[in-house]
Symmetry: C2
Subunit: 329 residues, 2 copies
């Protein structure tokens, strides 16, 4: 296992210390690094809290700040954070308007966030993200997995919270954006969880995993390497089938790297995906490209399409100031 670490057990804590130092203008750490929180809270605003296992950075800690999350709870690599972390985060960032939890649909995260929701004394609601169209159930999931579309939900709902929407409105918006968003990914290599010390799965030199999950979970099928155009056609085709978009629909296109694929290739995938979308009469009006919801150093990418309207586009375009996404400020 080749990684830039000192010790598997202290990896997360040391990384969070570095993150907090590098972004001290935006975030601070909760006691015991239980969570990353927005340094300056906005009073009367609904607090947005997300979290999940480490290894997907910049998700979620990189999305804490003005216009997006108020707190993010990180578990160890690919391991859910605990209800205690979420409870501590809620107590730290609730300013009286309640808390909205944004949870990716994994059994561990779902159970722990649900326990936290029962423990918190403030008003709260939960948006569950399940944008991965690849498979119905999976290794760690009943129902569809939550993957890169989570960032789109967090950005759009974050902007609505910033402008003062109430808890019920944010919950409804989050559910609606999740429903309008679909993703699918492909892996060319495995990732290696530090505590395991060996690749999560074996894959041949001429193979790829079509529909892979962000923890290296199996996808739809193991197939021979294909061209970028063929991959984009399959991923985008599955997404379009799921979303049933009409011709002329405006969308956001996120081409997300899993960690080990260079930007040179990701932009080539942008080009391939936009041609498929254009062929279906779908109009890409916003692009985001890069490693945003990663799987450690896994090579591969996912494509996410999110149907947009004037309201969601304005929220997408609204100012954001986080470690990983920043514009308008």
């Amino acid at each position: 296992m080749k990684k830039l670490i000192n010790d598997v057990d202290s990896l997360l804590a040391e990384s969070l210390d570095g993150f907090a130092a590098a972004h001290a203008d935006i975030v601070s750490l909760g006691v015991g690094a239980a969570f990353v929180r927005r340094r300056t809270l906005k009073h009367g605003k609904v607090a947005l809290i997300s979290g999940g296992g480490a290894g997907h950075e910049p998700l979620h800690s990189g999305f804490v700040g003005m216009g997006m999350l108020d707190a993010a709870c990180s578990g160890q690599v690919f391991t859910s954070p605990t209800p205690d972390q979420m409870l501590a985060a809620a107590q730290a960032v609730d300013t009286g308007a309640g808390v909205l939890f944004i949870v990716k649909n994994y059994s561990g995260d779902m159970m722990n966030f649900q326990m936290a929701a029962e423990m918190v004394t403030c008003d709260n609601a939960t948006v569950i993200v399940n944008d991965d169209v690849a498979v119905e159930d999976s290794t760690y999931t009943t129902g569809r997995r939550g993957v890169a579309g989570t960032l789109i939900v967090e950005k759009i709902v974050g902007a609505a919270a910033e402008r003062g929407d109430n808890l019920a409105a944010l919950k409804a918006l989050g559910d609606s954006v999740n429903k309008a968003t679909a993703s699918m990914g492909v892996a060319l290599t495995s990732c290696t969880v530090p505590a395991a010390g060996k690749p999560t799965f074996q894959i041949g030199v001429d193979e790829m995993e079509m529909g892979v999950g962000i923890h290296g979970e199996p996808g739809r099928r193991r197939v021979r390497l294909a061209s970028a155009d063929d991959i984009a056609a399959e991923l985008t085709g599955a997404i379009l089938k799921d979303l049933s978009l009409r011709s002329g629909q405006e969308v956001l296109l996120l081409v997300n790297g899993f960690g080990g694929t260079p930007l040179l290739e990701l932009y080539l995938m942008v080009n391939a995906a936009r041609k498929v979308l254009a062929g279906a009469g779908i109009q890409v009006v916003r692009y985001l490209t890069g490693p945003f919801v990663t799987s450690l150093e896994m090579a591969g990418c996912s494509i996410t399409v999110s149907a947009a309207d004037a309201t969601t586009l304005a929220l997408w375009d609204a100012p954001v100031h986080t470690a990983a996404l920043r514009w308008g400020v």
Copy 2:
């Protein structure tokens, strides 16, 4: 070779098409994709032009836009662009105040940019970046290599150009920032150049290349894997020795990923490097962390330290609007 591509020969052109589509608000492509240019030029401003081989993205195309570069010329992967590309870029973006070329010190780039400088009819000057302290001469270089510090030069000089500094002042500023900036990197794995189809170098499962170049060139020595703290101590130590900083000096710290190392590890390296710097009495006042000057999918990172003063900090903080760096706008 596992890459998301259609064809090795069209990889760069397709990637640039995707890049230009995704960032059409900021950039456009020159004829034949010879260069990426800032969509809206600022008249009377000195034009900044950089370039080099592909495979280091987001460098340089991701730094074209307000507050940074006016054009970037990309060669094929790890191959210099041609003088014709640079000449076409200069003709497209010069608005009468002249052109400043920012060139990483590689023999091919140096020769081609020099030929371009002789061909252009407008006033021009060249800043050569050679921030890599690892080795004196290298595979493609006479003298020190230009690596991740290039982005710091481009940002600071870009901000000065935006505020209206003239060509001579910008040339002097670029030389001065380059002199105040030093870098060194480590590779845990090789990259694979698409046209070669096999890893650039062989490296054992328990080895790393200390002082590696951004094309996988040999560094100072091939050693056994070490802890992140030991790696940070060696890289940062070599940098501090080169820069001869006094205690109390304020610096920018860039921890740059080479492409295959997750952000989780890069922030851990931030933490390790800042402890070394604090031990030497050096004060980190700005951080930048992520894959900015990459080597395709190589695992590893580089550390860059740049001595700052009130002037350079203000230029660093000035608004920038490019695909890969954006703040204040």
